[in-house]
């Protein structure tokens, strides 16, 4: 039922990467490389957020020190595996968040490398959660290993399909992926609210609370650090780290990755070279969604086990993936490091800060502030690089052609 593009309609994203679009910006970005800009971006974001904290009469340095310790980063000063102590426990919790953020970050990063902006990580993550919960409370007589695999595979596929819808609409109808992924996010959020809500198909045994049932023990991931009953660190972390390797391999060592990057740099040139741009839009979105769906599965069978309507409405981890991917410059290593940073920020501000210099409710919002600032500055760092390069070029050109008269 798709209409052919009528002559005279504005150029569709399928066929154009004019200067200033995500794809064109990326080209500059990926080539620029380097660590200085992302680090400067993060530092600047922390400084600005610190100024807000200071302006409201709190001590930002103490606050950041508390967050640092709350995140368990001080573990390197007291290395230990005993999660009864504060630092190791906090670190294990930070790594729990890092696991999710690596995957939701990759969900954004992979699409980015294909010149698309996947804002739908949140929805794809929720779809993954729902499917993993559904499988995890059914098939209770299944072999434990098979059950876990089934949860992970189906949730990953569900995420891929959910994102694939956006890719398909872009490939066939030219619908902008930003709009369709935003819409798909909210369909997933309200759909999950229905499923987990009162009298919903997936509501748990207690009819008074809108929360899903618990994933059966057989479908839960084993915990390797900490206590299964106290949100111990599950083996999903290794799957997330493996996903980073897979991401790097697929992008840099396979034909699929080559095509994805080619389309990301310049869809016109890629099409000229015989690459199907439309196919790559669908494929890249589906792979992106698979990462987010996997994140949902690992969270559900790793440590959440159940999910409620209020959690669905307030969860932001998929959106945080945007900041992770942007700060990590869509590279595997960068995404891993940025996920560890944001994981620490998320968990470090989640607990009562030890010195009480700012209340927990305030601290949690510092995370959102820093997230927003990072995304804002990263959006502009393309320009910083651009101006930097342009200025150097202009200077060189001027020195070569019109030597300035001595002052």
């Amino acid at each position: 039922m798709t209409e052919p593009v009528a002559p005279g309609t504005p150029p569709e994203p399928v066929s154009a990467a004019p200067p200033g679009t995500v794809a064109a910006a990326l080209a500059i970005w990926q080539r620029a490389g380097g660590l200085a800009v992302p680090i400067a971006t993060a530092v600047l974001a922390f400084i600005v957020a610190g100024l807000v904290v200071a302006a409201t009469g709190h001590d930002p340095l103490t606050a950041y020190k508390d967050i640092f310790e709350g995140a368990g980063y001080n573990w390197i000063f007291h290395p230990s595996t005993d999660t009864a102590a504060a630092a190791p426990y906090n670190l294990s919790q930070t790594l729990l968040q890092t696991t999710t953020l690596i995957l939701t970050g990759l969900a954004v990063a992979f699409a980015f490398r294909c010149g698309m902006f996947n804002i739908g990580g949140q929805g794809q993550y929720i779809v993954g959660l729902v499917v993993a919960n559904w499988i995890g409370i059914s098939f209770i007589h299944l072999d434990s290993f098979l059950h876990v695999v089934l949860c992970i595979v189906l949730a990953t596929l569900a995420g891929a399909v959910w994102a694939g819808i956006a890719g398909f609409l872009k490939a066939t109808a030219g619908a902008h992926e930003v709009i369709s992924t935003i819409m798909l996010n909210w369909i997933a959020i309200w759909g999950a609210s229905y499923l987990f809500g009162d009298n919903g198909p997936l509501q748990g045994p207690n009819p008074a609370v809108p929360v899903s049932g618990d994933v059966v023990p057989g479908a839960q991931l084993p915990v390797f650090w900490g206590d299964q009953g106290f949100q111990g660190l599950h083996v999903g972390l290794f799957l997330a780290l493996a996903a980073l390797v897979v991401y790097w391999l697929v992008l840099n060592r396979t034909t699929v990755g080559y095509e994805v990057r080619a389309v990301g740099y310049n869809p016109d040139a890629a099409a000229y070279g015989g690459i199907s741009v439309r196919k790559n839009f669908v494929r890249a979105m589906a792979i992106s969604g698979a990462f987010a769906g996997l994140a949902g599965a690992l969270d559900m069978i790793g440590y959440l086990y159940h999910f409620g309507v209020l959690d669905v409405q307030s969860n932001q981890i998929g959106f945080l993936g945007i900041a992770v991917a942007l700060l990590g410059r869509n590279t595997a290593v960068g995404t891993g490091v940025a996920a560890f940073l944001f994981g620490g920020l998320l968990y470090g501000t989640n607990q009562g800060l030890t010195s009480g210099v700012i209340p927990t409710a305030l601290a949690q919002n510092v995370t959102y502030l820093i997230q927003g600032l990072v995304v804002l500055f990263v959006g502009a760092d393309v320009l910083i690089l651009y101006v930097w390069n342009a200025r150097k070029k202009v200077r060189r050109a001027r020195a070569a052609t019109t030597p300035e008269p001595a002052a």
Binding site: T9, L169, A173, I182, M183, W186, W190, L376, G379
Partner: protein, 404 residues
Amino acid sequence: MSVRPMPDSAALRAKAAEPKSIAIAGIVLGVLAFFLVIPPITTRSIVGPIVVGVAAMAFGFWAVRGGAGRVGWGAVAAGVIGLVLGIVATRSSVGNLNQVFTASLIADMLSFATPLTFGAIGGMVSERSGVVNVGLEGMMLMGAFWGVYGAAVSGSWVVGVLVAAFSGGAMALVHAYFAIHLRADQIISGMAMNFLALGITGYFYYQLEHGGYLSTNVKIPNVSIPYVKDWSFVGPAIGNLNLGIWAAIACVPLSYVVLFKTPLGLRIRACGEHPRAADTVGINVYGIRYGAVVVSGMLAALGGVYLTDGFVHGVFNENVTAGRGFIALAAMIFGNWKPFGAFGAACLFGLSTALASSGRLTVYSPNGAILFQTLPYILTLIAVAGIIGRTIPPAADGRPYKKQ
């Protein structure tokens, strides 16, 4: 032996038989098919909706044959929906129908549509000038928070509204600076606005809560229309609406006139369609775009302050907008970047929220009514997929402009 001129009546008949008029008549019939079986008419026979619904579909197919594809298929869809819903409604008890379809449903629809209208009109102004604004949600949230703060501190709702508009405008100015001057990716910058607004309002909510600055009894007043409020049905529907609702409705023709009937509007649209051409004839593209983005932030913020200080009595909760800015974005797209289209979409989306809210569709299924909340998003997906006619954004929407 000369050809006689066509008589006037035939010309009139030809005009009435234009495919588009037929299609619109079909849509009206489709609505009527459902209208027959709900209060206040409430016929209980399934014959009515079937006959009228089929007639609507016939009109639709006739119009499609005549070449009015998009509106024609709309009429067919209206016929099918009217028929199905009509039959479903005759199966439902009159008591339930009376609880769902009351005069206050219209009041609720308008009330839920108000923040969406403000946001959608705001987004339209910005995008017509060529700057994508996915930060509407954040700007709405800023207005929702600082509006309550302003009203609480000053004790005047007028000050609250002004503070809200200022906060939304200030946030939009940041977006404009990054999008226009720094030529950052407009979607990334817009998303940054959403995150920042969440952080700023959440932070200051807890910071100021302790000072007791965030509770107020002043709120945007209701407008009680003399005489009209005593009429049956119309009275409870529109006789005592909030001033904010009327302001949103007034924004619709106002933005239409400004955008499509004034030189300023022509300039704004020129910047959104072809900034280079606009620049060549001496239009200040950056200036127009800055103005449009700031106005869009102020409008979105007005939607926010209505939410916290018009809809309710000065109450702010964290993330109170809960995605309404995104529905506004959807309404703008669904309305094809046009004021009346955006308002129509906002009303449709408002209606779906009003129906899903407690005491209405919840009489049938307490939980299933939640699914109605997805309707705006599904409809927008269908709209951008181009299944019933494609929505077309301004040509230079989202493209940074570089002066030469």
